[in-house]
Amino acid sequence: MLPTSKVVSPPSDDKRWKIVDGLMRRHGHEPCALIEVLHKVQETFGFLTEESLSYVAASLRVPYSKVFGVATFYHFFTMKPPGKHTCVVCTGTACYIKGAPTLLNAVQEVAGIKQGETTKDGNLSLLTARCLGSCGLAPAAVFDGQVSGKMTTEKVKERIHMYLDSEAMAMEARK
């Protein structure tokens, strides 16, 4: 059964919900705005949770099952919290031909995690992308949102070490 149109309140008093609410209002709470709204939630909070999905479901009057279906259908949406830093290795065709598998192996080896995973200390997430459209600069990787082209295993390892070491140093300092 569809939730009735009673006023629903955000799952928490986090002020960031106002951003999401604003977008939903702009779309007139139309069910077709679902994907746009999920983008906004993920952009604002970093990832999706069951609470945020049920809030969106109630606000747009869409069944929770459909919201969950959409959130898990599309690769772009994630229900896992991302690490402090992210490394995305492009595995599109051009990058693949130019050695993306080697890059990916190098990162996995240095960080000790597989693609789609986050290090235990929550410092680094390793992801892959189907194509960034930076094929002219293959192989490409994205470090914290910045695209870097013409990567080599050395350069990738250096960046990963930098991320891992900075956290180790911070831990040391805290001690």
Partner: protein, 552 residues
């Protein structure tokens, strides 16, 4: 806003620009930006300021200049002087060269007479690398929105469609359906509301033409959509763009806002009764959403799963209303066709494929980047003349066109002309324009496995032939690369390709076997080497080692 206002903006912008003796253009499209071109631009600007040249020298951010491999790229107004791999530290040398004619170090000087530039013919990309994509005035000064005004004030919808039909333009998304015919169908469809959708869900890995057009010249696409809206009777347009292209999305949003502000989109465009609004909708990383019915499902806010056709979107599309869906490059071709006439466009290209095509050239080729060539040039010319051949003294092996739906074309067909029908005759497709060159370091079985892995994970799961078939084909290909396959597997693989092709619901499944089929057809010896001799000729897979493990 009327035609005179538009002309005024064009004249004023040109006058403003003519005050400068020198214009230095810096590429600020995604490729060069990731190589630091923003800082290059800032440094050039502060250098101009320091030398007190603000009055005579202008630094301008422009769209893609094409040769992404050599980025960041900088050029002067007429592109007589071009600079490659520029760093912020080179700013002074570039200004010395452009303004004071003191030659810059040869390391950053690029030969602007390269075949890469000379052999292109630019229609879609005519403004890329020339205008500032975030300034509507720049587009208007380059005859922008003139075609839209002409259409809404001088032509009736049927006359517009007649020009498009005459031009012979075929859909640039890959399938090559005649654009004029599609427009007629939507125009004739009955319904109070109609929609225009621009498919900017460029999911093919290895393709970045649409991204580049949207980042370099977004207004061209908006103008094309508005003309289409007028022709088919739609008042609302959607651009469905990949979320992976944040810069393209940003520039589109800027462009829509600017166009609305001066009355080139929205209500009563050009003081006529024509209304047209455009909204951007974000994709969320699903390759299948490039398929038109899946794309519609996604805009409606659901999972991107295709549905059987007919009814075609032209009759029943978005929210059940007649909907025109064209690709970014198709819309980008519309304004020049209207400005210069359908006959002019039809005079370019081959008998059945008119105009030009933009290709994203990547992989094992010297000059990777974006090119636009007339239909009918040969693959050899693209790869060896424009592309500069294979680097590191390696040997060409195959070129892959059309992404996961296309095929691998071997050396013996390098002299076929590039058009929809010739590529199809060798088992590949034109596709949206990705062109990946492979040399002898690529194993064709591994490449087939790579594409099947892609299709397997991108299959939406709605129909069994695609969902199960791609997984089974992937398993067999995986076994072959690992040296665990027997001769029967090849036979099974061949049977599966036919089955998946024939029985799948949408284009994804129907074309998923293409990379496998073409590699089976042209590179059977590589398959045999893996299966019979436990050897990978390119040295990519390790079939023998795996076999040893199995037997041990």
């Amino acid at each position: 806003m009327n035609q005179d206002d538009l002309a005024n903006i064009a004249v004023q912008t040109k006058q403003n620009d003519s005050r400068y003796d020198h214009v230095i253009k810096v590429c600020v499209a995604a490729g060069c930006l990731s190589a630091n071109s923003e800082q290059v631009k800032t440094q050039l600007e502060s250098e101009v300021k320091q030398r007190g040249l603000e009055g005579c020298c202008k630094v301008k951010g422009v769209g893609c200049m094409g040769l992404c491999a050599a980025g960041p790229l900088v050029a002067n107004e007429g592109n007589e002087k071009m600079f490659q791999s520029v760093t912020p530290a080179d700013a002074a040398a570039i200004i010395d060269d452009v303004v004071d004619h003191k030659p810059a170090p040869s390391a950053i000087v690029m030969d602007s007479n390269l075949d890469f530039f000379k052999r292109q013919k630019k229609i879609v990309l005519e403004n890329s690398g020339e205008i500032d994509p975030e300034r509507i005035e720049d587009y208007i000064a380059a005859d922008g929105y003139e075609a839209l005004f002409h259409v809404i004030t001088m032509l009736n919808p049927a006359e517009v469609i007649e020009q498009i039909t005459k031009s012979g333009l075929r859909g640039r998304g890959g399938a090559g359906f005649p654009t004029g015919l599609k427009w007629i169908t939507v125009a004739k469809a009955s319904g109070n509301r109609k929609y225009v959708i621009c498919n900017a869900d460029e999911g093919d890995p290895g393709a970045f033409m649409d991204r580049s057009v949207l980042e370099s010249d977004p207004h061209r696409v908006l103008e094309g959509m508005a003309i289409a809206g007028y022709a088919v009777g739609a008042e609302k347009g959607f651009i469905y763009c990949r979320a992976e292209y944040p810069l393209a999305v940003k520039r589109l949003r800027v462009a829509i806002r600017e166009a609305e502000n001066i009355g080139l989109l929205g209500l009563n465009i050009g003081d006529t009764h024509f209304d047209f609004k455009v909204e951007v909708r974000l994709g969320a990383g699903a390759f299948v959403c490039g398929e038109e019915t899946a794309l519609i499902a996604s805009i409606e806010g659901g999972r991107g799963t295709p549905r059987p056709r007919p009814p075609f979107p032209a009759q029943q599309g978005l929210w059940g209303d007649p909907t025109l869906i064209n690709n970014v490059e198709t819309f980008a071709n519309i304004p020049p066709i209207i400005r210069r006439g359908g006959e002019w466009f039809a005079s370019i290209g081959t008998e059945k494929s008119k105009g030009t095509k933009v290709f994203a050239l990547a992989g094992r080729v010297k000059n990777t980047g974006l090119i636009e060539v007339p239909m009918g040039v040969t693959l050899r010319e693209i790869i060896f003349k424009l592309g500069g051949g294979i680097p590191d003294g390696r040997r060409f092996k195959a070129v892959q066109s059309g992404g996961p739906s296309g095929g691998c074309v071997p050396e013996q067909y390098l002299d076929i002309p590039v058009d929809y029908d010739s590529l199809a005759s060798v088992g590949s497709i034109m596709g949206s324009g990705g062109m990946i060159v492979m040399d002898d370091t690529s194993c064709m079985v591994d490449v087939a496995r790579f594409f099947m892995d892609f299709c397997m994970s991108e299959s939406c799961g709605k129909c069994v032939p695609c969902r199960v078939g791609t997984t089974q084909m992937h398993n067999i290909l995986d076994r072959i690369t690992k040296g665990k396959a027997g001769p029967k597997d090849l036979e099974l693989l061949q049977r599966l390709t036919g089955m998946v092709k024939a029985a799948s619901l949408c284009g994804l499944g129907q074309t998923a076997p293409n990379p496998t089929l073409t590699t089976l057809r042209y590179f059977m010896d590589e398959y045999r080497a893996h299966i019979e001799e436990g050897r990978c000729p390119a040295g990519v897979c390790h079939p023998a080692k795996a076999e040893a493990e199995v037997s041990a």
